[in-house]
Amino acid sequence: MPDLLVATRKGLLRFAHDGKLVEPPAFLGDPVSAVLADPRDGTLYAALRLGHFGVKLHRSTDGGASWEEVAAPAFPAAPDPEGAPAVDMVWCLEAGGSQEPGRIWAGTLPAALFVSDDRGASWRLVDALWDRPERKDWMGGGYDHPGLHTILVDPRDPRKLTVAISTGGIWRSTDGGGTWALCGRGLRQDHVPPERTFDPGFQDPHRLAACAAAPETVWCQHHNGIFRSTDAAETFVEIRDVLPSAFGFAVAAHPGDPDTAWFVPAIRDERRVPVEGRLVVTRTRDGGRSFEALGRGLPERDAFDLVYRHGLDVDATGEHLAMGSTTGHLWIADGGGESWRLLAGHLAPIAAVRFLPD
């Protein structure tokens, strides 16, 4: 497997291709909320959420042996600071397109999109999304504030951006963030008044994943289930009757096959633990018509592991997967998830796992 970065509540870990932990961990004791390995130049980025001292961003140009602090995304200073926004957490980091050297995107709590064009040395708020009047309807989903947790950059045209907000729906830009439109028709939100059930602006998409080879195919692990789009998130079709459950947070899309994706189910909203204590990964290989529950090597009983939005990743071959839980367990899989192996079992809660590009 490729090397793996694991962002935890108490530091950033790197596991080598042979599965061994690279010592020492970075930021030992500090919460790491997001991580990025930039495929364009190999730079690593790690966002910290220091309990006392706020959000910080560090980058490394030597594979994580040393780190330098750079600017963190921040809102512009308001004339009246009372009630003005401040970044509470960086929830996701993504690289810009291959023809956009130095461009990095960041999604935050409260839900906002920031962009840097100098590898994190400076950031600016994407006003066109922040200023959308619909923002007044966004709500917290798991945190006090709404949060922006997914940024999809179309590999064919990096001006095409898709972002997802819990809870504030899915938004698309085709001009690099200059204008935004709400999309995601067909998504269904149960815990709102019935008139709003299918309102795209009231949806809670937990996580999106697009097929790299066919980016118009977008999978959505939604608060109410699993949905799939074949038109770049404009419209979705719900996939029902997924066993053992369609509730979860994470989703990974096969990089080459738009019909294959993986999910990690929990019982349901108010019981976020594996069904019957048995942890499985569900996989479809036929565009969602059927699912397999893959559990070989995963705990078969008494498991309380929950996998957060960024806690599941697949490598560029589609063969290797990594999964980290809030209980501090880290697994890797071969064969597209057929067989899992526990890599570490006593970690802090895991926020994100991410394979390094080869």
């Binding site: 706020g54 921040a74 809102f75 600071p81």
Partner: protein, 89 residues
């Protein structure tokens, strides 16, 4: 001139040695500190200039009351203690 001391917890993240800094309010003293140690700013204040939620400042034995404007008065003999408040585990 007022003296400013910092929690050792902060020094783990960024250099923060005890120093003297001029000023008649907490804001003025902190701005003088940031003039010599600019990295400290984002560790103590958020982007709106407010004291971070889990950072506390005491002027001598009294916690400051103006956590947004930082207008609490400081005298030439004051000692400012920058400390962490409780935050998670």
């Amino acid at each position: 001139m007022p003296t400013v001391t910092f929690t050792a917890h902060l020094a783990r993240q960024v250099p923060a040695a005890t120093l003297e800094a001029p000023g008649t309010t907490v804001r003025e003293v902190l701005e003088a500190v940031f003039a010599t140690s600019p990295r400290l700013r984002t560790y103590l204040l958020d982007e709106q200039g407010r004291l971070r939620k889990h950072v506390g400042i005491w002027v001598d034995s009294v916690p400051i009351s103006d956590r947004i404007g930082l207008g609490d008065p400081v005298t030439a003999t004051s000692r400012l203690h920058v400390l962490q408040l409780l935050s998670g585990g």
